[in-house]
């Protein structure tokens, strides 16, 4: 049981009053306070705790995005992760990026790093997708323990208590596996002053999605409006969808 990958996303800070851009194309992010997604903090904390309990040897913090996301990786390092990986995506590509591309990147990294666990936050507070963990598990064909409120390593298996609509569900899954952290899994630690100083010396590797064999997200094509259902059916038949 050697290595855990933890995903950390840089999002607009939860306390900020969100404003919509004048052209309605999105929300204002320029000059707005950003921080690590709270569920990602919980994921980092869980990974660091597993390392402190000696279940794993190394925690690698991963973030996808422009240069600024290295701040978020540094925070993860200050919390106790051993090294970081910055998968660089910027500009329009970054805006178009969604859970599917991220999960492809994480799946590729999980294989490359021979990770035993991939721990992610259950969702990000900006898009609330709640998809990346599940998609990553599917791409890797690994078991998943999502909405985890308790994680226990038992030999080569992980016992996960999940928060579900009906209450709590306990499952036992084999490793390697993907876990997603829910609110009550733990209380993230503050980085200590000594750890912030140690983090300065920890390495952050830089790479592009292409280095992992992951394509750029496809450009979205414009759609076409049709007048009737018959037109819709005809068009779908014409392009081979049905």
């Amino acid at each position: 049981m050697s290595r855990v990958l933890v995903g950390v996303k840089r999002v607009i800070d939860y306390a900020v009053k969100i404003r919509v851009k004048p052209d309605h194309s999105g929300v204002v992010t320029d000059g707005v306070k950003h921080s690590m997604n709270p569920f990602c903090e919980i994921a980092v904390e869980e990974a660091v705790k597993l390392k402190e309990k000696k279940f794993i040897k190394e925690v690698v913090a991963v973030s996808c995005g422009p240069t600024q996301v290295t701040e978020t990786i540094r925070t993860a390092l200050a919390m106790g992760c051993d090294r970081g990986i910055h998968v660089e995506v910027s500009g329009k590509d970054y805006e178009a990026m969604g859970p599917l591309q991220i999960s492809k990147i994480f799946a590729a990294l999980a294989k490359k790093e021979e990770a035993s666990l991939v721990i992610l936050g259950k969702q990000a507070i900006d898009d609330d997708c709640n998809q990346t963990g599940q998609m990553t598990a599917a791409l890797l064909d690994w078991p998943q323990g999502t909405f985890a409120s308790e994680v226990t390593i038992d030999g080569e298996k992980v016992k996960v208590v999940r928060e579900i609509d009906g209450g709590l569900e306990t499952i036992k899954i084999s490793m390697p596996a993907v876990l997603t952290a829910d609110l009550r899994l733990n209380t993230p630690r503050y980085a200590t002053l000594p750890n912030i100083m140690k983090a300065k010396k920890k390495k952050i590797a830089n790479m592009k999605p292409a280095d992992l064999g992951v394509d750029e997200p496809p450009t979205r094509l414009a759609g076409v409006k049709v007048e009737t259902v018959d037109d819709l059916v005809a068009k779908l038949k014409a392009n081979g969808t049905i």
């Binding site: 320029d30 000059g31 540094r74 200050a78 503050y190 980085a191 200590t192 002053l193 000594p194 912030i196």
Partner: protein, 390 residues
Amino acid sequence: MDVKKGRVSSAHGLSDEQKEFQKMAFDFAAHEMSPHMAEWDEKEIFPVETMRKAAQLGFGGIYVQPEVGGSGLSRLDTSVIFEALSTGCVSTTAYISIHNMCNWMIDTFGNTEQREKFCPELCTMDKFASYCLTEPGSGSDAASLLTTAKLEGHHYILNGSKAFISGGGDTDVYIVMCRTGGKGPKGISCVVVEKDTPGLSFGKKEKKVGWNSQPTRAVILEDCHVPVTNRLGQEGQGFNIAMRGLNGGRINIASCSLGAAHACVQLARDHLLVRKQFGEALSNNQFLQFKLAEMATKLVASRLLLREAAVALQESRSDAVSLCSMAKLFVTDECFNICNQALQMHGGYGYLKDYAVQQFVRDIRVHQILEGTNEVMRMIIARSLLSESG
């Protein structure tokens, strides 16, 4: 940190590492201190558990050497940290800074045994410290202190009383400046008196306008036997040790004022945007816009002077003492005015204890008085300006 377009941020000019310290300190202040600030003030609670949590993060000995458990950071790092923590509770942060000052004095002037005995537990805040210089008869004229320390065998017998001691009665380690020799500063030594030493007692807990999350008491010494091995440095070096401690202490106290002013400018700004009178938000009123601009300008000026003084002290520059005095004088005065003005902008609400602004005003008022009054700061600056060698 909070980088709004065009606004001067408190993170400006800091290294990446300092920004991390600052972010962590702001988070700690917002989550662990701010929610309790009013209760600690009202109920006069000395928040031992919260301070120990802070110590676990390295705040118990910020500029103390790592080999005795400290964080080994610079004076500038320390100023940034105290400024951020103060936004959560000035009174508690100010006490933490006094504790740090005492810890540093032992670390710097103590011998190996003393450092190893006291510093680790002060760094974890398993034990708390107090700085005892002022007496009923000697405040600004500190060198005229009367507490005596008579050498008898392997002990000093201490007799006298200290006034206005922060933490007094609830702390474990008392750094006491006392007279072992003749009159004036050269007759003063510095000894560490431990809690429960026979002959050590305390006056009543003072009722204060602010700083209520730390108890303040007189410290009374009646034939108090202190081992000679508890003396820091040489006999006659005590006043110098006390003043060296205070140089840093002045940076720290000014940092606390700065944090309070930073918080109050934000509170005032938010209030102006929300409160409406005469059919529009107060933020449309030119007088208030100009006033807010002046407050922000003085805040930034304060911060720059303070950080420069911190760097000068760290580098032991020849102008460090003057700069520390200038910074303490300017920053505590200007920041009090900023907080006071912020209270005024809140109107009647500013006078209610439901609103934090009044606590910031009450808590930082004393920063213009202690650790050397702002009048004494002027004496120090003038002396340096008018000295023969200048």
